[in-house]
């Protein structure tokens, strides 16, 4: 469709916001999480693999936590079972934190962008 009086289109895109600095900051955060090109060297491959594996473990860990909370609220666990389950999940979280530190990964690194579906976590 060509440009016509019925179909006006300015030559340049407009950018309209009253909160420029805030959006710049947030968009920088989004850009930082975009996947960059992979450098094939021993260290980055190891870290990339650790990131993928730990992301999946983190995903499963959160599912387990949600399931535990549902069961706790559902009343089908005794106080002793709740305590035991809570301790096990607490240790799992601490272990994962230890592994993240070991591979130099932050909390926000453990996620996957699944495109139109959204993020894994």
């Amino acid at each position: 469709m060509e440009l016509s009086p019925e179909n006006p289109l300015s030559a340049e895109p407009e950018i309209d916001t009253s909160n420029v600095e805030e959006f710049v900051e947030q968009l920088r955060c989004v850009t930082d999480t975009l996947p960059s090109r992979i450098n094939i060297d021993a260290q980055s491959v190891e870290q990339g693999l650790a990131k993928l594996v730990l992301t999946l473990i983190e995903f499963i860990r959160r599912l387990l936590e949600k399931q535990a909370v549902r069961r706790m609220e559902g009343g089908d666990l005794s106080p002793e079972q709740i305590e035991e389950l809570g301790l096990a999940l607490m240790k799992l979280e601490a272990k994962l934190q230890e592994l993240k530190t070991q591979f130099g990964l932050a909390d926000e690194d453990l996620n996957l962008d699944l495109g139109p579906i959204g993020r894994l976590i």
Binding site: T17, F23, Q26, M90
Partner: protein, 240 residues
């Protein structure tokens, strides 16, 4: 010699504006059957991801937006002329459908920031009979999970509200919700040019309704969010 491919357009013989492309190369319209691809010569094996190159790519795609609606290729698409001809011949029907989907439209973008704490509703405490570390840990997780659910509901409500405000004015949309982050919503709307004025008015009125939200409104852009032609290309020829 390889070609750098910028975008696919309906039949276009000439370019009105001679906008230099990547590394200052001349851009030309390569006519293949009844489609055209904007290309420039490129002598290296890969395209460095730099701000300048990204802006050059965007400027070339944008340079034809006032005449037609381009389907942008992914940044960094390098291909030989023969590969391009084979690709277009093999994929012509599906590419024409994709061009038809965006024809006469532009992409408009809306991003919304919210205050995360506004949606942290107090939850009824969990009445634990055992106050051990494990039980306390699970009670805290329960609080976090309920908070996440409240935020997800609130984010979905914003998305539904925005959709209702632009209903009838958009042909398609791509919405990303991130309830756990400040930048909670990113929406790309495919808007017919004839409806652009009405769309802008609708968005402007909508913004007044929600003073608690911060908006970033931009466009018109080429329909980057609705193109998605690089994957087919990559699959077929293994180029990046």
């Amino acid at each position: 010699m390889k070609l750098y491919a910028y975008c696919l357009v309906d039949d276009l013989d000439t370019l009105d504006v001679q906008r230099p492309g990547i590394l200052g190369a001349d851009v030309r319209a390569l006519k293949i059957e009844d489609l055209s691809v904007l290309v420039s010569d490129y002598q290296f094996d890969a395209v460095p991801v730099t701000r300048e190159n990204a802006l050059d790519h965007a400027a070339v795609v944008r340079s034809v937006l006032d005449r037609t609606t381009p389907l942008p290729f992914r940044f960094g698409t390098l291909v030989t002329e023969q590969q391009l001809r084979n690709y277009l011949s093999a994929r012509k029907p599906s590419l024409q459908i994709r061009l038809g989907n965006v024809r006469g439209c532009v992409e408009m973008s809306i991003k919304i920031i919210w205050e995360l704490t506004q949606h942290d509703k107090p939850n009824p405490p969990y009445a634990a009979t055992n106050q051990g570390a494990g039980t306390t840990f699970l009670a805290e997780k329960r609080r976090e999970i309920l908070g996440d659910e409240h935020r997800s509901q609130a984010a979905s409500e914003i998305s539904s509200w925005l959709r209702e405000k632009v209903s009838g004015l958009i042909r398609d949309e791509q919405v990303t919700l991130r309830p756990a982050e400040k930048l909670v919503l990113s929406a790309a709307h495919l808007v017919e040019r004839a409806k652009l004025h009405s769309y802008k008015e609708a968005v402007s009125a909508a913004r007044q309704e929600r003073p608690e939200l911060r908006f970033l409104f931009s466009g018109p852009w080429p329909p980057y969010s609705f193109a998605n032609i690089e994957l087919e290309f990559k699959t077929q020829f293994g180029v990046s």
